[in-house]
């Protein structure tokens, strides 16, 4: 490999970095001001490519292409403004992160809408008029469009930088990023500010997507493919820092280009293919950056967000009535195998729901009372599932032993990752957990000889008597009840109170002698371990485990379940998990456009129950109870 080749690959990296920058810059702006984790940002990017494709092919010519790109960016900006005004504005007062649920619903809806409007086939746009060819550099041919992209990103960066540094709007944005309550208190119209920032961020996403039209076909997988990368870039660069986003985009794109340039490496004793590391390169970069610089390369510590939502009431042990209900529910669940004899599928579905309940409850343990928003809970699910599966297949463990070992494997992983994660807070913690989850996922995916690679481990079936669906269901029920009671016990023990104290005020908790980091670390590990039970149960229920089951999608499902049920109550995650699992099961059968329908249902639930389903019921109850004069 010559120096020329490396330098040329560096140029390739720069043009890829430009694409990353546009989507990351918009996301960073939106998060900085509104604190919304906008998962739908990738969908806006995808829409950008589709709209630009339509304009470029329907109008045609240079105007259709270049004019189309500008029009697309503006149009996507308008869509962004509409999302903010019609949807997000209604739920700013909801608990933190709840807006994530709304944007998740949008991802589902946008994807199906795109399928409906443009059809399933990939649409490859025309080459850029005037920039269709290539230029010779280092004796190699670089597409002139790539050269254009290399320059356009810094140009936009400089433009944004001056807009933020010099204009009144820019000053407001920066002020709001630092302390948005203060900005509001000083009489700035927050609604207009939020809408315009959301529109600007969306415009950038649309522009980024539109610029890709000459490089890649518009396709329905773009939204999710790009959103992960965008988050990584934003976090590595530092939330709210546009320059940081550009720097991070360059670093990540260059690392990937380098991996590709190196190709197959033969060190004599070991031979590996560096191009395979592109799968996980960005997450390794993110993990390193966050461990060394907790706020990203150019980020500053996040301003304290004084919650917009109503202050959270401390959780109390359930009222006797609720406990009685719980006993009735448990009795019914125990009787389910008898009731469901005529329809064995109920056992299968109910087992799935119980697995989801364990998963969501363990996530809630650190998200709610712990205040640690884990975006990578799938890692512990995966460690449990793979731990059980591999112990059974490779180490010859009997089924029950493998199942019991699952939480131990997950616990070890959570102890390791948690140690790094609790050093951070807020969205940085969330992103570090995500990075670890992706590293676990990539390791499992890559390590074919041990984990079976993309196919995973198959043939993980329970042995008698658990090979009968109803016996396995009872096993799952027993483990679910144990898990939930165990977590509850932790929460009402001094340990749980200490964990919540650390969440609500780390300083005061430290002052009274609580080692907040240690408590949070242990809390994280406990949640991970319990989550491993769900993973182990899952592997045996499905007879197999593959990397897909532990990808980002599962982490997001977990967040959705917890938020859907309501983060402020202990019953919330159970209700959320059950409702989500059943919704998925029923809706998937109903219509071809089930994703869109699921999105609409979630959107409805978001607007109807901004406290989550269980949260809404408990509020109703306390109001009713309050009138009656009873205790809450």
């Amino acid at each position: 490999m010559t120096l020329d080749a490396f330098l040329f690959q560096a140029l390739n990296g720069l043009s890829t970095a430009s694409g990353l920058f546009f989507i990351a810059a918009g996301l960073s702006l939106i998060f900085g001001v509104t604190r919304i984790v906008n998962i739908a940002h990738g969908s806006l990017y995808m829409l950008g490519t589709y709209i630009a494709y339509t304009l470029a092919t329907k109008i045609g010519g240079a105007f259709g292409f270049w004019g189309g790109i500008v029009l697309t960016a503006l149009f996507v900006g308008v869509i962004g403004a509409a999302i903010e005004m019609l949807l997000l504005r209604r739920i700013y007062r909801a608990p933190e992160l709840f807006q994530l649920l709304a944007t998740f619903a949008l991802v589902l809806i946008f994807n199906d809408m795109t399928l409906w409007l443009w059809g399933p086939e990939d649409l490859l746009g025309p080459r850029a008029p005037g920039l269709a060819g290539a230029v010779e550099i280092f004796g190699r041919r670089l597409p002139s469009y790539d050269l254009f992209l290399i320059f356009v990103a810094p140009a936009v960066l400089i433009l944004l930088h001056f807009a933020l540094a010099k204009s009144r709007f820019g000053r407001l944005v920066r002020a709001a990023t630092q302390d948005r309550e203060m900005v509001g208190a000083l009489g700035v119209n927050q609604a207009v500010l939020f809408t315009s920032v959301f529109a600007l961020g969306s415009l950038l996403a649309g522009l980024g997507g539109a610029l890709q039209v000459a490089r890649e076909p518009a396709n329905l997988a773009m939204d999710l493919a790009v959103i992960g990368d965008a988050f990584v870039v934003v976090v590595v660069g530092g939330m709210g820092s546009i320059t940081g986003a550009y720097l991070a985009a360059i670093i990540i794109a260059e690392v990937k280009a380098l991996c590709i340039a190196i190709g197959v490496v033969d060190l004599g004793f070991i031979k590996f293919n560096a191009s395979k590391f592109t799968l996980v390169a960005e997450f390794i970069v993110m993990a390193i950056v966050l461990i060394v610089r907790p706020y990203g390369l150019l980020g500053k510590p996040q301003g304290n967000v004084r919650s917009v939502a109503e202050p959270e009431a401390p959780i109390r042990p359930a009222a006797p009535l609720l406990k009685a209900f719980a006993a009735v529910v448990l009795a019914l669940l125990l009787a389910l195998p008898v009731v469901a004899q005529s329809s064995p599928y109920v056992m299968v579905l109910a087992t799935d729901i119980l697995i989801a309940v364990i998963f969501a409850t363990s996530l809630h343990f650190i998200m709610g009372p712990g205040g640690m928003h884990s975006f990578g809970h799938a890692a512990y699910f995966g460690l449990g599932a793979y731990g059980a599966a591999l112990l059974l297949k490779s180490a010859g463990f009997p089924m029950l032993a493998a199942l019991l070992a699952a939480p131990a494997v997950a616990l070890l992983g959570a102890l390791l990752f948690g140690w790094f994660a609790v050093g951070l807070s807020g969205v940085y913690l969330a992103m570090l957990t995500l990075a670890f989850a992706q590293i676990v996922w990539a390791a499992v995916f890559q390590w074919e000889t041990f984990t079976g690679g993309s196919n995973g481990v198959i043939g993980v079936w329970p042995t008698a008597p658990f090979n009968k669906a109803w016996v396995y269901y009872l096993l799952a029920l027993a483990l679910a009840v144990i898990s939930v009671l165990l977590l509850r016990r932790f929460l009402f023990a001094p340990f749980g109170y200490a964990m919540r104290a650390g969440r609500d005020s780390a300083l005061r908790a430290e002052a009274i002698g609580i080692d907040v980091k240690r408590i949070h670390w242990l809390g994280f590990a406990i949640a991970g371990g319990i989550c491993g039970i769900a993973g182990g149960l899952f592997a045996f229920a499905k007879g197999s485990i593959s990397p897909e089951a532990i990808a980002v999608g599962r982490s997001i499902d977990g967040l959705v379940m917890v938020l859907l049920g309501g983060i402020q109550t202990l019953v919330g995650p159970m209700v959320g998990a059950s409702v989500f699992a059943m919704l998925q099961d029923t809706i998937m059968r109903q219509t071809e456009y089930w994703r869109g329908l699921l999105g609409c249902v979630i959107l409805f639930l978001v607007l109807a129950f901004p406290q989550g389903i269980a949260g809404a019921f408990s509020m109703l109850w306390s109001r009713f109870d309050g009138k009656r004069g009873g205790r809450a």
């Binding site: 329809s343 729901i353 499905k542 593959s546 919330g572």
Partner: protein
């Protein structure tokens, strides 16, 4: 009150479980599951193919009975797919299941079928493992495997007489095993062959410019490309602009299928040696009949998925006509050496490894009227590239035979 919510949910489960529709006596229920949402470009034509075949089959009937297809989305992941398979079997009471697209989902359902003793016809997945390493008694597979498709391209790869080869494949079972097969087969015939670079980009996220450049920098004389869509389109455009394919022999799996070729439009890489489906070039009576029926019904041309969907239902119909009973074991017996007529001509399901011998077309990509198509086409019968019965018996677990 919170618990009450839970109770309502519970009632929901019960209600959902208890309300299963009663089946009419004169229909045979077949469950079909596939990744319709995550792979719409492939599975939309596939579904149409199934519809057409179903119409034809039910017009005649099978021993006086009709087939009822119950189609489900498998959610695009193995865990979900197993649940859906279970739902089809336990709630809908289907006689057999068919479908799946991606290899790992196909494998998970194969494993489920073996464990629960349910007859499964894998329609689309390509991995060799379904019929060999992880094969089982209850699973048959229709489409030509990775091994078969690679073997079909070997004569052309050998004839090219190139020494320096580059490999580009997705970092995924399908790509990895295609590359492994290719390397092994070529090495056997051409021991001095050199593989100068291997690029394994993540599925669906190829950094096309950098990968194309890395291939070019390795200065290969030929390359073996197994990219999936939409990676292929990105790669071809970058490669064309950078002159990577100039004066190089390129051998590529599946790229001649309309699903891959059509999105490339006028940029179809002329001269690539590919397996595929040149629907406008095939002139056989079987295919003509299929083509006109398809175009009449859907006012669209068929893709390879249409052929697979059509042949899946035709296979099921043939199996049902032959079987003694609707239990899994009888179906397994019925599919042994089962002969099926498809638009590609007659083929059969081998008793030895449960693989269908349906072949594929091999040819060179050409450009006609600004659209990609195939030239010099030749149908390669699957039977001609599959190892013999004794050899596959060794590849399969003992319990599967």
């Amino acid at each position: 009150m919170k618990a009450k919510q839970y109770l309502t949910s519970l009632a929901f489960v019960l209600a959902a479980g208890l309300s299963f529709p009663a089946a009419a006596q004169d229909t045979i229920k077949i469950g079909e599951l596939n990744s319709y949402k995550s792979q719409p470009a492939f599975l939309d034509p596939y579904k149409k193919g199934m519809e057409l075949a179903l119409e034809e089959v039910n017009a005649k009937g099978i021993n006086g009975k009709k087939i009822e297809l119950i189609i489900r989305d498998d959610g695009g992941n193995p865990g979900e797919a197993v649940r859906v398979a279970e739902e089809l079997v336990t709630r809908e009471g289907v006689a057999m299941i068919a479908g799946t697209f991606l290899s790992h989902i196909g494998l998970a359902v194969t494993n489920f079928a073996g464990q629960k003793k349910v007859f499964f016809l894998a329609a689309e997945p390509l991995t060799d493992k379904i019929t060999w390493e992880s094969g089982n008694k209850y699973t048959y597979r229709l489409r030509a495997t990775t091994y078969m498709q690679t073997a079909m391209l070997m004569p052309a790869a050998i004839a090219a007489k190139k020494k320096r080869w580059a490999l580009v494949y997705p970092n995924f079972e399908y790509g990895q095993s295609a590359a492994e097969n290719f390397k092994a087969m070529l090495k056997k015939v051409q021991p001095d062959v050199e593989f100068v670079t291997e690029q394994a980009p993540p599925l669906g996220k190829v950094d096309a410019g950098a990968v194309a450049q890395a291939v070019d920098d390795a200065k290969p004389e030929a390359s073996f490309d197994v990219l999936c869509r939409p990676d292929l389109a990105k790669f071809v455009r970058e490669g064309n602009t950078r002159g990577v394919f100039k004066d190089r022999t390129v051998v590529s799996l599946l790229s001649g299928e309309p699903e891959y070729l059509d999105p490339l439009g006028a940029e179809a890489p002329v001269g690539w040696i590919v397996t595929g489906y040149p629907w406008d070039k095939i002139k056989t009576p079987e295919h003509d009949a299929f083509l006109s029926a398809y175009q009449k019904k859907f006012n669209d041309y068929p893709r390879l998925g249409s052929i697979v969907g059509y042949s899946t239902v035709k296979s099921i119909a043939a199996g049902l006509a032959k079987t003694k009973g609707l239990d899994a074991d009888s179906l397994v017996e019925a599919f042994k050496d089962l002969k099926v007529d498809s638009p590609f001509g007659p083929f059969m399901y081998r008793a030895s490894d449960h693989q269908a011998t349906m072949g594929a077309y091999v040819g060179k990509i050409a450009l006609e009227k600004g659209k990609g198509t195939m030239d010099d086409i030749k149908y390669v019968d699957g039977a001609s590239v599959l190892p013999g019965d004794a050899e596959v018996a060794k590849l399969r677990p003992a319990s599967a035979n």
